[in-house]
């Protein structure tokens, strides 16, 4: 007996989608109406998400789906459907809750924007697309929503389209993710040709169930890697991470949405969703595709946390921290800790939204200043923002016991340590934890401590409509850790289908002290280096070369510009040249040949045929004129002619005879 919500799961993305479409229709002037509609859409989606969450609590490893055929061509029937399992339900709750907070925050943040209503339409569309990704039971439906997420991110990153940098960032995000999506699409096609279905679960016939996996067999490694390409693009993994920091050009609530709930979560979610493809034929939990995932994650996490240390843009630091956390999640998925990775994704959704909204609050009050060197001393004037930001910062850094990020990060470190292949990811992840604590401490010190600098002059607390989401998200960040602790790993059990047992003895583990030591080391290092920050960075003074390397994002953008973009430009220029000179040359040669033939024909026509006809006509006319002169109409002339003729005949006769 499947509950009604499984059949009507499609209502969840439809609610914000409908809100979005209505907002687009009602016009630009009805701001209150637009915001109300968007919030209503979110609330109904949240209510439905709760309704979807409840049945999944009944049995461990609950899974229900509802399939229907979309269209038929030839003998192939394309089927789509929705799926409800703990992964979907947890994601739905997180997305709708975080989005709701961001929507409320946006009312305050975007209050003075001209395109206020359009902004809410796009935001609603964005969450609708992401909710579609989450509920899909078909790789095809997932891909469609996935691309809609890409479209919405393009629209929102380039929301301030009058800024050239925003337009460029939107384009960059769209094209970069599209590169990954090509791989994803190829993977889908391959999967379809291998297993004959794109449904995940279909009573034993889906592509993630035994029969489907058996049909794919050995090609699953390549299919998985192709699908991973899509996740690399969407989740900002190395080497396609370059769009994510640039996406900071969008309004801050958009950054929060992209980084916390909607866009980047899609990649990690995708890997978790099609995990059976990755783990098929695993020996001791290791497959070639999962190893690739691990190493990409390690590279991404470490690179991003290094770059984050040397950024001065408030939002860029957060962007790189997202990249590194996503890398961490990928590592976790790769080493077999699906539940740990998703737990971190959920926890990260809350605290990263909190951090971004906090940053948005700071930016809002310092009049669109994003350079942390110009802030400082905001601790006093923006007390609530400071406190909630500190919660987010501690969760991100992994301060143990009270903050959700710490538990999930620890879980990931645990799983990584058990990876049989190599211990390197584990050590590198620990380094990443130290770096995360370091750059977050640096940011806190720059923004909230020390003496007020240029931009923080008349900053004061944000309006209460912006404070409320901060409080809610901070509360969630702390409260969420209740279900994450090793003493009662309810969420872990919920996601992986095992029942959780309460055992306080497990609360204190050696790993806890290790991570505490790491975080303390990072924070202490940060305080030591940045306790007296000025306009120049202490690291910049001591290691100018290294700092510049990191500040310029390891010159990856430049590398891409020199290699990929330059070669594609060259190819474009070559194609242009081919088109202009070679193919056009052929066309022109044919045209010229035709023209030449025309000229020849014309000459022949005029000088040959026409001239002959003309001559004939002239002759005929002369003859006619001559003849008509003889026909004078005078009877006597005719008679004379007859007479002459007769005479002539007579003479001829006489001469002949």
């Amino acid at each position: 007996m499947t509950p009604w919500i499984v059949t009507y799961l499609w209502l969840i993305p439809t609610a914000p989608l409908a809100a979005s479409l209505i907002i687009l229709r009602i016009g630009n002037s009805r701001r209150t109406g637009a915001a109300t509609l968007a919030i209503l859409g979110q609330i109904s989606a949240l209510a439905l998400a709760v309704a979807a969450f409840l049945p999944t609590l009944q049995t461990p490893g609950y899974r229900a789906f509802h399939n229907l055929s979309w269209f038929t061509f030839g003998e192939q029937t394309v089927r789509i459907g929705w799926l409800l399992d703990p992964l979907t339900a947890a994601m739905l709750l997180m997305i709708t809750l975080v989005s709701l907070c961001i929507f409320v925050f946006s009312i305050g943040y975007m209050a003075n924007d001209r395109n206020f209503t359009r902004f809410f339409a796009y935001l609603s569309f964005f969450t609708a697309a992401m909710l579609g990704v989450v509920i899909a039971n078909s790789l095809l439906l997932l891909f469609v929503c996935w691309e809609l997420v890409g479209l919405a991110s393009y629209l929102l990153i380039g929301f301030w389209i009058h800024k050239p940098s925003a337009a460029a960032a939107a384009k960059k995000a769209f094209i970069t993710t599209r590169i990954g999506d090509i791989g994803f699409l190829l993977g889908i096609v391959w999967l379809y040709s291998g297993s004959g279905t794109l449904l995940f679960y279909d009573n034993g016939r889906g592509c993630l169930e035994n029969a489907g996996l058996l049909a794919i067999g050995a090609s699953s490694t390549l299919i998985a890697l192709l699908v991973f390409c899509g996740a690399v693009g969407k989740s900002g993994q190395f080497p396609l991470h370059v769009w994510l920091p640039d996406a900071m050009e969008g309004p801050t609530p958009v950054s929060a949405l992209i980084h916390a709930a909607t866009m980047v979560a899609a990649g990690v979610f995708l890997i978790a969703r099609v995990y059976p493809l990755f783990s098929l034929g695993a020996i001791g939990g290791v497959t070639p595709s999962l190893t690739v995932v691990v190493w990409i994650g390690v590279i991404t996490a470490l690179m991003a946390s290094l770059i984050a240390v040397a950024q001065f843009d408030l939002k860029r630091v957060l962007a790189y921290s997202t990249v590194s956390q996503l890398g961490l999640m990928m590592v976790s998925l790769g080493v077999g800790g699906v539940a740990a990775g998703i737990m971190h994704l959920l926890a990260h959704g809350f605290f990263k939204a909190l951090l971004f909204l906090g940053a948005g609050s700071v930016i809002h009050e310092t009049h669109d200043e994003q350079d942390i060197r110009k802030m400082g001393g905001l601790r006093g004037s923006m007390r609530l923002t400071f406190l909630t930001y500190a919660v987010g910062m501690m969760a991100l850094s992994g301060v143990p016991l009270f903050f959700s990020g710490a538990w999930t990060k620890e879980e990931i470190l645990h799983t990584t340590a058990r990876w049989p292949q190599s211990q390197a990811p584990h050590s590198l992840m620990m380094l990443g934890v130290v770096l995360t604590a370091l750059y977050m401490t640096r940011q806190m010190l720059y923004v909230f401590f020390g003496n007020p600098r240029a931009a923080s002059g008349n900053a004061h607390e944000s309006p209460s409509i912006m404070k409320l989401p901060l409080i809610v998200l901070a509360a969630c960040t702390i409260a969420f850790s209740v279900v994450l602790t090793p003493a009662w790993p309810w969420l872990h059990g919920y996601l992986s289908g095992n029942a959780a047992h309460l055992n306080f003895a497990l609360l204190i583990q050696p790993m806890l002290f290790v991570s505490l030591a790491l975080v303390v080391a990072g924070v202490a290092l940060g305080v030591l280096i940045y306790r007296k920050v000025g306009d120049t960075d202490p690291l910049q003074r001591h290691q100018p070369g290294l700092f510049r390397f990191l500040e310029d994002k390891m010159w990856l953008d430049e590398l891409y510009a020199r290699t990929v973009i330059a070669s594609s430009r060259t190819a474009a220029r070559f194609s242009d040249w081919m088109d202009r000179y070679l193919w056009d040359g052929f066309v022109r040669a044919f045209g010229g040949l035709g023209q030449l033939l025309g000229i020849l024909t014309k000459g022949f026509d005029e000088r040959g045929i026409n001239a002959g006809v003309d001559e004939g006509v002239v002759g005929a006319r002369g003859l006619g004129r001559f003849m008509s002169a003889a026909h004078s109409g005078r009877i006597q002339t005719y008679l004379g002619a007859v007479a002459v003729g007769m005479l002539t005949l007579l003479l001829v006769y006489a001469w002949l005879a």
């Binding site: 008509s628 026909h631 004078s632 005078r634 009877i635 006597q636 008679l639 007479a643």
Partner: protein, 104 residues
């Protein structure tokens, strides 16, 4: 001197030529009709002359033809004159140089 056939033929030819000349050169339709009558007369004269100087026992074919020709010529003259009158009524002239509607 007795007139021979040649004398008659010469007279006839002369008459024909005079008639032809009249028909060709005169401008008045009446005179042209007269010229035509003269040429007919020349032909009749020929018929009669050839009959007179032919075999003795012959039936008077030449004379008969001449009489027929004269009768027909009378009818023809009547038609011709009627035409001339009609033309005159229509064009107010009998000058043939101005009657050139046959001009092609």
């Amino acid at each position: 001197m007795t007139p021979t056939l040649t004398t008659f033929l010469v007279v006839s030819a002369a008459l024909f030529c005079v008639g032809l000349l009249a028909a060709l050169s005169r401008r008045n339709a009446i005179f042209i009709l007269i010229g035509i009558e003269m040429m007919l007369a020349a032909a009749n004269l020929n018929f009669v002359a050839f009959w007179r100087f032919g075999h003795e026992s012959q039936p008077p074919t030449g004379v008969m033809i001449a009489i027929f020709a004269i009768a027909i010529a009378a009818a023809e003259a009547a038609v011709g004159l009627a035409l001339v009158i009609a033309v005159y009524r229509h064009y107010n002239t009998t000058n043939v140089t101005r009657l050139d509607r046959l001009k092609g």
